[in-house]
Symmetry: C2
Subunit: 244 residues, 2 copies
């Protein structure tokens, strides 16, 4: 599937034109970065989902250092698109915590924080998704794969973008038969308790602030410093998180 | 060393009485949790360090959703002690980002976020420390072990406390001869790029907000929900992060 086919099929779902454009931009970026589970394959998946194509996310609380949003039954991608645009239009003087209730699916979190960093903001984003990861000792799935994304702007125009899922493989890998279901565990092998602990912390962070349904928590801040260029010098050309 | 000897030796460093009590409480808690590298062994280390025992951390910016503190040349432990007390005394209405410049050492981060959670606040804390972790491809140390701590209060009185360092072993393990220097790498084995990416993201998050010297970034928030009791039911008695 290419961008044109994706746009055509998304239009047929009765999504608004600007929403279609936002989705195609996200899926296309994921394709270019090799994150195929977040790419155009999601169009077919969306065709099988139930959602309100006309829903608009609503900003329920707006204070200088805190915002709360409600996804309103629409797609999480479009909730984050709206939130990212709102932060870039009205950035915090210092820092702001943004909570998004009913925000699923959220796609490749690195995409959203990268755009904030390209707009000059430091950004940290976590979100919840269906429970897939068991305790390292076994048992039922307790947490989502719960990625954590962190982006830092840089005066050299090349932000650093961390986007790490706590799973050893992705759910998409399992769906495509590229990994066995029992491989979908916290990453880290004999230190999987570390990734599990991070997944639990992020799961409960988001659910304590954004509620029982899947949601997201974003922190945006104005950088006081510009550490990335010196860090790249220290790394001496080695590939850093988010580099293509 | 026990608490009494620790207190006596810390007094001899000309620290104030309440600062001595705060340090002994932190070291004692680390001992009880088996985190010996953060325990009373630190007293001897402190005796070898240069710091201003009379320094007081200073709140430079105080807004409802943002605070900036300067450690002022004192011990990072006491900067975090002061910040934790200040948050518990004046919690945010919704959420607050707290940046601490010149804040080193910060000890066991789980200790600080646990106290905030015991006071009813959701807390996330990251801090920087000397560079110890190389890129998974090798080369010089690029980041600290950069722990991330997350604590979630619970109506059952048992908060969940995640406190995860990105290193496969601790620097303390190496100092005590329990690990070889070359084992001090990002955890995760063949997925060490994930822990490295988290270490880089946290390193640059803190340094972009708190400056070149070691610092810390804390997020505190009022929980809207109480997800921990149901999560413990789902986990069916399995040990969860922060359980003793």
């Amino acid at each position: 599937m290419d961008a044109a086919e994706a746009a055509t099929r998304l239009c047929a779902l009765r999504l608004r034109d600007d929403d279609v454009q936002a989705l195609v931009a996200h899926f296309g970026d994921a394709e270019r970065r090799g994150k195929l589970a977040h790419g155009f394959s999601r169009v077919e998946w969306l065709e099988s989902q139930s959602f309100d194509p006309t829903a608009r996310p609503r900003r329920v609380v707006a204070e200088p250092g805190y915002e709360s949003w409600d996804g309103g039954g629409g797609l999480g991608y479009l909730v984050l698109e709206t939130i990212v645009q709102a932060q870039l239009e009205s950035p915090p003087e210092h820092a702001r915590v943004v909570v998004a209730r009913r925000c699923f699916p959220t796609g490749a979190l690195g995409y959203w924080v990268r755009r904030l960093a390209e707009g000059g903001l430091v950004a940290v984003l976590a979100s919840t998704s269906p429970r897939r990861l068991p305790h390292p000792d076994g048992g039922p799935a307790l947490t989502g794969t719960n990625p954590l994304a962190i982006a830092i702007p840089s005066s050299d125009g090349r932000p650093i973008v961390t986007d790490v899922s706590m799973g050893a493989v992705t759910h998409g890998d399992v769906l495509r038969g590229e990994a066995r279901p029992e491989e979908l565990v916290p990453f880290g092998g004999d230190q999987a308790h570390k990734a599990f602990a991070l997944a639990v912390g992020l799961e409960l962070l988001v659910s304590s602030l954004a509620g029982e349904e899947h949601g997201a928590v974003l922190i945006v801040a104005q950088p006081d410093e510009d550490p990335v260029p010196a860090f790249r010098v220290l790394a001496a050309g080695r590939r850093l998180p988010g580099d293509s």
